[in-house]
């Protein structure tokens, strides 16, 4: 079952004197349970594509279907709710809420989904345990290392039970040990819980772990390789 279906996506930025064509006719379908890396050099359109697939940005032309829903022209307020229920996000700079504890950060997304306190507590602790940071539950993000913060961010992304997780350069700020640990966690989530991950990265360690590698150049897909 495909969770993402993008057809003939283009994105042109007209704010500059010369229009910038960030994406030129992207066709991409991601199936449930995939562990996909979108790779390519800086400026090739990876983040733009992820923003469009995640409903954060609108394509100039083309259509995007997420979990069977066409989100191409969806209005802002509906898109926010759609993202909440359907998509998990992991950002390069972790972007946890600094005034909440790690557990509260994981709970927060479920609070937005209006889940019960008991369910929030239970799932937040389960996810933190799976990420190996349950002992840090009541600490603030600023008390954790970068790798640990990113694990909290992954737990937060998974907390909403999304159809898939979009991760934009998730290891860019991590050292090699933290990167390896984080990738192992995510690979395990993918294998054990069939969680779907789509990364943008140019980190070879992430690329090596990916089951599918989509390569972008100048806003176009130049290769789409699936590994066993």
């Amino acid at each position: 079952m495909s969770v993402i279906k993008a057809e003939n996506i283009t994105k042109t930025y007209k704010e500059t004197a010369v229009p910038v064509h960030a994406l030129n006719g992207i066709n991409l379908e991601v199936q449930e349970g995939e562990f996909t890396a979108i790779v390519g050099p800086s400026g090739c359109g990876k983040t733009t594509l992820l923003n469009i697939l995640g409903g954060l940005d609108h394509p100039s032309t083309g259509t995007v279907e997420v979990a069977g829903t066409n989100i191409t022209d969806m209005k802002d307020s509906k898109l926010i709710d759609f993202r909440l229920q359907t998509i998990g996000f992991v950002f390069q700079a972790y972007n946890l809420i600094p005034v909440l504890t790690n557990k509260e950060n994981v709970e927060f997304i479920m609070l937005l989904q209006k889940r019960s306190k008991a369910e929030r507590d239970k799932r937040a602790m389960e996810l933190l345990e799976q990420m190996g940071i349950a002992d840090k539950a009541n600490q603030r993000p600023s008390e954790l290392s970068g790798g640990q913060q990113q694990r909290v961010a992954v737990a937060r992304a998974l907390a909403s039970k999304p159809k898939f997780i979009l991760a934009d350069e998730p290891t860019a700020n991590l050292d090699s040990v933290s990167t390896a640990n984080l990738l192992d966690m995510m690979a395990r989530m993918n294998q054990e819980q069939n969680a779907t991950f789509v990364f943008s990265t140019h980190d070879q360690r992430v690329i090596d772990k990916a089951k599918r590698i989509v390569t972008l150049e100048d806003g176009k897909i130049v290769s789409d390789e699936t590994r066993n």
């Binding site: 802002d76 307020s77 926010i80 700079a93």
Partner: protein
């Protein structure tokens, strides 16, 4: 969790929050002090003014306020004074005859103001006894008069001398008489001190041929804020055809003007103060919004509705403002309570003079609740108005741009 987030967000930048809090608290303290002194001085101005002469209310002939002639006097029944004295909130009631006469002693004459009173009752308003500087005070049964010190100096007359008074009585009757000076009074008001002659009411009624008539009944209240209720109660005891109630505002319009000017200047000062504080608060909100632009974008990206995010930020602003207001009110409450019960007085010599005139010259602080309520509301409205900026920034926040700019 939303309120917890808002509360914790306040303390993310403790130093900035403390400065904002302090500025709000200072504004509240300063403006409540200022308003309290203004209100207190207004109360004092009214008290001193009405105690000088008019009282808070007067019963008069309807024509008397425009034409102060004894022909515009009114007849009164024996129950009028007890009825007025029995009204709740009334401190003193004094029947009067006010007119003019030419006063002569030896070869000096002067136009004077004659006030016929029941001295015991008038002591509840003008406190004549305390103004006595020489001789003795007249009583209701006295045949003599007391005169103002300035007038006595002008006429070169002294206690036990005889004064000649010539005037026109009721409806053109002749009015002339000889009156022994029983005492000399020193009035704080220079006009009164140059012109005033006080005589017993019965003597005045005889002199002006005003049997059983008065030109006014002055009423002093315990608190001028009770005036509407007293006015309503008093109106039941007067005949609207021949009598009417006149307020101190009608009798002393210049006092209202003075009070309005004082309040206007205080309002301008408070407005300037709030403008300064407003810019300070706006600076805080501006920096907070700029610093958290990326954070707002992330929250919107992960699925937080704009309205909920606006609620969090608005709660922060309200909490911060409320803390500042509460701190300010707590400090100003203590200060105002202290100064209300311990007014800032003048030097002891001036105080003695003031007391001799039956006046209060201390700086009085009002504890009127409306002062505190107004400040709390003013800051809340200011904060609400200023919150428009961050709330509008959240409304327009584009998560893609916010996240990219924060990278």
């Amino acid at each position: 969790m939303i309120l917890i987030m808002a509360w914790r967000n306040i303390w993310r930048n403790r130093r900035r929050s403390f400065i904002t809090l302090s500025s709000i608290a200072f504004a509240v303290i300063f403006s409540t002090l200022m308003m309290s002194v203004q209100r207190g001085s207004l109360d004092q101005l009214i008290d001193n003014s009405v105690k000088f002469y008019t009282g808070h209310l007067q019963v008069q002939n309807p024509e008397f306020i425009d034409e102060k002639s004894i022909n515009n006097s009114f007849s009164y029944g024996s129950d009028l004074l007890p009825n007025l004295e029995g009204i709740k909130g009334v401190q003193a009631v004094s029947p009067r005859i006010e007119s003019f006469a030419l006063a002569s002693y030896e070869n000096v004459s002067k136009a004077t103001m004659v006030l016929g009173v029941e001295p015991e009752k008038e002591d509840g308003i003008m406190v004549l006894t305390k103004k006595l500087v020489k001789g003795k005070m007249i009583t209701s049964d006295s045949k003599g008069v007391v005169i103002a010190a300035g007038l006595a100096d002008y006429l070169k007359i002294n206690v036990n001398d005889t004064l000649v008074l010539i005037s026109q009585g009721y409806h053109g009757a002749n009015a002339a008489g000889l009156f022994v000076i029983e005492g000399i009074l020193k009035f704080p008001n220079p006009m009164q001190n140059k012109q005033m002659i006080c005589m017993p009411l019965q003597q005045a009624q005889w002199f002006y041929d005003l049997k059983n008539k008065l030109t006014s009944v002055a009423i002093l209240l315990k608190d001028y804020k009770d005036m509407p209720a007293v006015e309503e109660a008093a109106s039941k005891f007067i005949d609207p055809k021949t009598e009417r109630l006149v307020t101190w505002q009608e009798m002393t319009p210049e006092l209202i003007q003075t009070a309005n000017m004082k309040f206007a200047s205080a309002r301008v000062m408070i407005l300037i103060l709030y403008a300064v504080i407003g810019f300070g608060m706006f600076g805080t909100f501006l920096m907070m919004t700029a610093e958290r632009k990326r954070e707002f974008g992330i929250m919107l990206a992960i699925g937080m509705k704009r309205r909920l995010l606006q609620t969090v930020v608005f709660s922060e602003i309200v909490m911060l403002s409320a803390l500042g207001v509460l701190a300010g009110l707590a400090v100003s409450g203590v200060l105002l309570t202290y100064f209300h019960f311990n007014p800032i007085g003048l030097a002891s010599s001036q105080k003695t003079i003031a007391e001799a005139y039956g006046m209060e010259f201390a700086i009085r602080f009002s504890l009127d609740q409306s002062i505190f309520i107004f400040q709390a509301l003013a800051v809340f409205i200011l904060a609400t108005a200023l919150s428009f900026y961050p709330l509008n920034k959240i409304r327009k926040n584009d998560p893609v741009v916010a996240i990219r700019e924060g990278q």
